[in-house]
Symmetry: C2
Subunit: 348 residues, 2 copies
């Protein structure tokens, strides 16, 4: 075959690859309420309740580095990132299945430690671990988790539900997980250069925890419900604010204006960013793995939203399709329709 | 840590590893009818209908060799092996989610070809492809499929349902997939020695197809239902007859007597086995990946079962727990409680 006919996936990135693969997929069964294209698929359960189902793969050397990722944290995180997808649909996780491909450098004790994290996360999020697969791996450790959740069928938050002039909100704060990773990478580099130097990590507790042991924002789902706020669209921030807001804009066929001075950034994050000579806003916009919830809500919910401690209004939706605009602290308008983290592009 | 404290997983094998990891897992939710321990988990749907859910991981260099596995076949097989798990619970597959970890040696065209196989299998088995994950891989290609199916809640076939004196039956024929793999390995070896030698594969069409493009026995589920035969226990043969019957015996707390002269073996399989100097019965007993259904049924179903073309009565269950006995053609009794294929043990 002509070698020129081959298209490197690194030229496409993950989302274009997926678009290429799934563009011709049709839904045939009445048992499918939502297929590919959101944080989870939807299949029917009771009259007013649906099941959500989603899957996520973590690969050694891509999503985690075994040199500085404690196995218990890794197991915990593998569940959390999936629970976060269920939260993004306004649901609660109920069941998980865990597949592991295990290289022979890992012992029973290693994998038991990983599983301790899996079980702890399942306990914390009230999830039954109901299945999985375990196999050897000729290369790195791979963890695939599939998650099931349930949701009130009338309260599902799809990406496509946002409308112009609605509020854009985010929970928690952004950019910390990305900076935690930078610190871990820096310390590994220093350690590799001189193995007598002990890593200095005490000052970075918050950002390291955000990277190594994130939590899914079930509490945000619950508090929104308690306050009778129904988000019109929602997604979890796994690839970065600038990347994930694009999914909402694309699915809803609208645009957005984000205000830099409204983006929540922890003082620990700012401090580390400045130390590493990175603009904190850049971390908050393009850093991934925060697992916060990004959602839109009607203007009428503004005062209620402002009263909730851990949600922040950071902008509003506009009628210009796909225009993602950042209004900077110096009141300039900047187009930020660029990418977040992409495992294919970063590696090449 | 003391190095002696580490237990190599190769010393345990897959099933002991799983027993170690999941022995303390409890089911907490009323939404879990069956958790870990069968071919699929069971969660409720309608009054008389349940969902089944299962997951399976295929790893390059462990489950397939990219040197001789056509990518379209690989995609097809990744769905089929999961559909087979749903069949083993007496259900029909409805939905699939596909996660891929892709090394950069694979192009868009390669992955599209793999996906063609996935889509073809989904079309053939009436499955909606509803989700997945796509990431890069720093090492080999990994495919994880999670499958959902539905089943009449009163007709589920668990491994634990077999009783002494019931018939042991198997669909199709056994050992071909294993021999197909041996032929592929042999031809690869010859090709590596001398790249001018073209592989001679014409004579092995049947066994190669059984290895490269297996099918799940949905037809067997349907014909048993049509004949009003309710299996008391069922499993699919993925690791080999001798290994998979153990799961039924263990879960049902009984034993089994298998008659060598009743084990269905295709003439193509026997021919290839003799050519390779392997006993065909050994291939049928210990070779995996046949994806046939192994089930038990009451004695009363005997005449009906004998009338079904593609199911074979190969023995009966006994009251001695875990005793797996082969009655050879020379009427000797042999204990065959040994292992089938195990990805951890084979590699080490």
């Amino acid at each position: 075959m002509n070698k020129n006919k081959f298209t490197p996936i690194a030229n496409l990135g993950e989302f274009n690859l997926i678009d290429n693969l799934v563009s011709d997929i049709k839904i045939n069964s009445s048992l499918t309420k939502m297929g590919i294209g959101d944080d989870a698929a939807v299949i029917p359960y009771l009259k007013n309740e649906d099941y959500l189902i989603s899957t996520d793969m973590l690969v050694e050397g891509v999503h985690f580095d075994s040199a500085y990722t404690p196995l218990k944290h890794l197991g915990y995180k593998s569940i959390v990132v999936n629970v976060s997808d269920i939260c993004a649909m306004n649901g609660h996780a109920t069941h998980a299945l865990v597949s592991l491909a295990i290289p022979n450098k890992y012992s029973l004790e290693h994998i038991s430690t990983l599983y301790e994290g899996v079980k702890l996360a399942c306990a914390n999020y009230s999830i039954d671990l109901i299945g999985g697969d375990t196999t050897s791996s000729s290369s790195g450790l791979v963890i695939n988790v599939s998650i099931v959740g349930k949701v009130n069928g009338k309260k599902i938050t799809y990406r496509k539900g946002a409308k112009p002039n609605e509020l854009l909100c985010v929970s928690g704060d952004l950019g910390a997980a990305y900076l935690g990773l930078q610190i871990l990478e820096r310390e590994r580099y220093i350690f590799n250069e001189n193995q007598n130097v002990q890593p200095e990590l005490e000052n970075y507790k918050y950002i390291l925890e955000r990277q190594l042991k994130p939590e899914a924002r079930v509490d945000v789902i619950d508090i929104l419900k308690k306050n009778e706020i129904q988000p019109s669209a929602m997604i979890d921030i796994s690839d970065g604010l600038s990347s994930d807001i694009r999914h909402i804009c694309k699915a809803s066929n609208i645009g957005v204006k984000i205000f830099e001075n409204k983006i929540p950034i922890s003082s620990f994050t700012s401090e580390a960013a400045i130390e590493l000579n990175i603009n904190p806003t850049i971390c908050a916009l393009h850093g991934g793995e925060d697992y916060e919830l990004l959602f839109t809500a009607p203007l009428a919910a503004q005062s209620k939203l402002e009263a909730i401690k851990d949600t922040h209004i950071i902008g509003h939706m506009t009628s210009t399709p796909f225009k993602i605009e950042l209004i900077t602290t110096s009141e300039q308008s900047v187009d930020i329709s660029s990418d977040g983290w992409d495992s294919f592009i970063e590696k090449n």
